[in-house]
């Protein structure tokens, strides 16, 4: 069975500082990896996804993530955060393709990023 571990439940940083949100996964098959952001009282917005190819994935809002198969990790990074990045971030995994279409997502418990002035 797949699982996702987000190693930090809360990450406080100062504005313009770099940030890394950590995500490790476990799966017995090839996986596809996603990062979603959730602002208060809203749904989930896709930040970026890894399906294949380059292990460095660039997403929206200046975020990027690196897929490391040997360490089963998919950490999210941003070189300089803004107050508006304050939100909850979820890492998710899917074993896409075994049924020829969309597969379920398995989510981590989330990391709450708080950007302070």
């Amino acid at each position: 069975a797949q699982s996702v571990t987000q190693l930090d439940s809360q990450v406080p940083v100062f504005e313009e500082a770099p940030v890394e949100l950590r995500c490790n996964y476990s799966s017995s098959v090839s996986v596809y990896l996603f990062w979603y952001v959730q602002y208060p009282n809203q749904g989930l917005q896709l930040l970026l996804k890894y399906l294949s190819g380059s292990t460095l994935v660039k997403g929206i809002n200046g975020f990027e993530a690196e897929f490391n198969k040997s360490q089963t990790s998919f950490h999210l990074r941003k070189p300089s955060v803004h107050i508006s990045d304050t939100a909850e971030y979820f890492c998710a995994v899917s074993d896409w393709g075994t049924q020829g279409g969309s597969e379920k997502l398995v989510f981590g418990k989330g990391t709450k990023l708080t950007v302070n002035p």
Binding site: V4, Y32, F34, Y36, N41, Q42, G43, L44, Q45, L46, K49, L51, F90, A92, W96, Q99, G100, G101, S102, E103, K104, L105, V106, F107, G108, K109, G110
Partner: protein, 112 residues
């Protein structure tokens, strides 16, 4: 282009009652999945509908049921509500040949 639309946005129900939540997928999407997000937790997969049939199901009791209509919209029904069913219910739509879901803003269900 409208994204995923969910209704209602909020509702309050009494323990033991039944509730129906609705979802209209993004234009061009044919797959609808439902997730339950309890407070402070990540979303948990409930089930997925494709071609009007339940294709996958997560670890949820039979009190949770659903339906997909020919226009790809979907309903989530929960019977015999428990206090523990209080959560944000998220609908996500996707296309069978692409990768990635679009999520709606959710329905906040409170059971009292």
């Amino acid at each position: 282009d409208a994204g995923v639309t969910q209704s209602p946005t909020h509702l309050i129900k009494t323990r033991g009652q039944q509730v129906t939540l609705r979802c209209s997928p993004k234009s061009g999407h044919d797959t609808v999945s439902w997730y339950q997000q309890a407070l402070g937790q990540g979303p948990q997969f409930i089930f997925q509908y494709y071609e009007e049939e339940e294709r996958q199901r997560g670890n949820f009791p039979d009190r949770f049921s659903g339906h997909q209509f020919p226009n790809y919209s979907s309903e989530l029904n929960v019977n015999a509500l428990l206090l523990g069913d209080s959560a944000l219910y998220l609908c996500a739509s996707g296309a069978s040949e692409t990768y990635g879901y679009t999520f709606g803003s959710g329905t906040r269900l409170t059971v009292v």
